[in-house]
Subunit: 192 residues, 2 copies
């Protein structure tokens, strides 16, 4: 009964899957509905039924991506490891994305920022705000417990971590060298 409206494993989700990969590899202005349609073997008109405009598609992409990310952070939180290990696992999320030759969805959208519709811009900022909030909490916990030692406000350190990981990811992807990212990320966390 609960699945009455769920006939065929949700076309919307498969569209989002393909679109997500395209944004993460080519940027929001680097793909078209035709690319998605070609991959899925449907027509462009079908896509417009599920996502009337490209801007709406973008909004849904961010919402889903952010939810997954927050879920991952919640999982780290529940694991009960110390603050340093939490940061290692946080960086590992980025590494996993990079391994599939992708950029962070919101890192990519941040570079396309000037060309995006307002709701997408808001979504991007919210994503980074929530990342920073989580990191601030971890940093404060680590400083209290003695697991971490750092100068400056947790706020600035958190922003530094997000920026450093996003930037290192972007460069490592250009070189096609995941190890480039790992070395930088390891040192970043080791310095705290």
């Amino acid at each position: 009964m609960a699945r009455a409206t769920k006939i065929n494993v949700d076309t919307s989700q498969r569209i989002l899957d393909v679109a997500e990969r395209l944004v993460q590899t080519r940027g929001f202005n680097g793909f078209s509905y035709a690319d998605i349609a070609g991959t899925l073997g449907v027509t462009k008109a079908s896509l417009h039924y599920h996502f009337p405009t490209k801007a709406e598609l973008g909004q849904r992409l961010i919402e889903r991506y952010e939810q997954r990310f927050l879920d991952a952070l919640a999982t780290i939180e529940r694991s009960g490891v110390d603050a340093r290990e939490k940061l290692r696992r946080y960086a590992a999320i980025y590494t996993d994305v990079l391994r599939s030759n992708r950029m962070c969805l919101c890192g990519m959208l941040a570079s396309d920022y000037a060309t995006l519709a307002k709701p997408i811009k808001e979504g991007v900022k919210q994503f980074f705000n929530r990342n920073e909030d989580w990191l601030v909490a971890v940093l404060e916990e680590g400083r209290s417990s003695g697991a971490l030692r750092f100068a400056g406000s947790p706020d600035v350190v958190a922003r530094g971590i997000v920026g450093a990981l996003e930037g290192a990811m972007m460069l490592a992807r250009s070189y096609g060298e995941v190890v480039r990212f790992e070395a930088v990320a390891d040192r970043l966390i080791a310095e705290l």
Copy 2:
């Protein structure tokens, strides 16, 4: 005599100026010849006379940008300041770019990387290689003189600095807050 072929302050340079700003604000796939033509008050056909294809335009953009950047680094080198001050002035180059609401040209192209022609890709990597080479030299000098103290290889630290500045820049631009970048950059250098 020497200026015989230079009638009107070089249209090519003015085209590059406008194109550069567009790439730095909207990305390589976020602008068109029509945008440049509209700004300069010429036709698209004129632009194609100076830069036959968009890929060639992109190549010239990188070449010019890299030359300017290397000139700026050479100026820092000649100033005779200590290693820490060199890093501060290096970061200041980024701050100046960000103040005009722009991303680093090559940072932007790094995010568009998958969609670019091969010569442009090579140009992007070369830009970052030269940045890292310069930083490695400064870091080694600073470690020798005692002006800097850091763990790990200068190589990894240099890559961390470039990535951190590019990433922080990208995020700060999204928030429209230059101060966000400055706080992160200051702390980054202070930690060395």
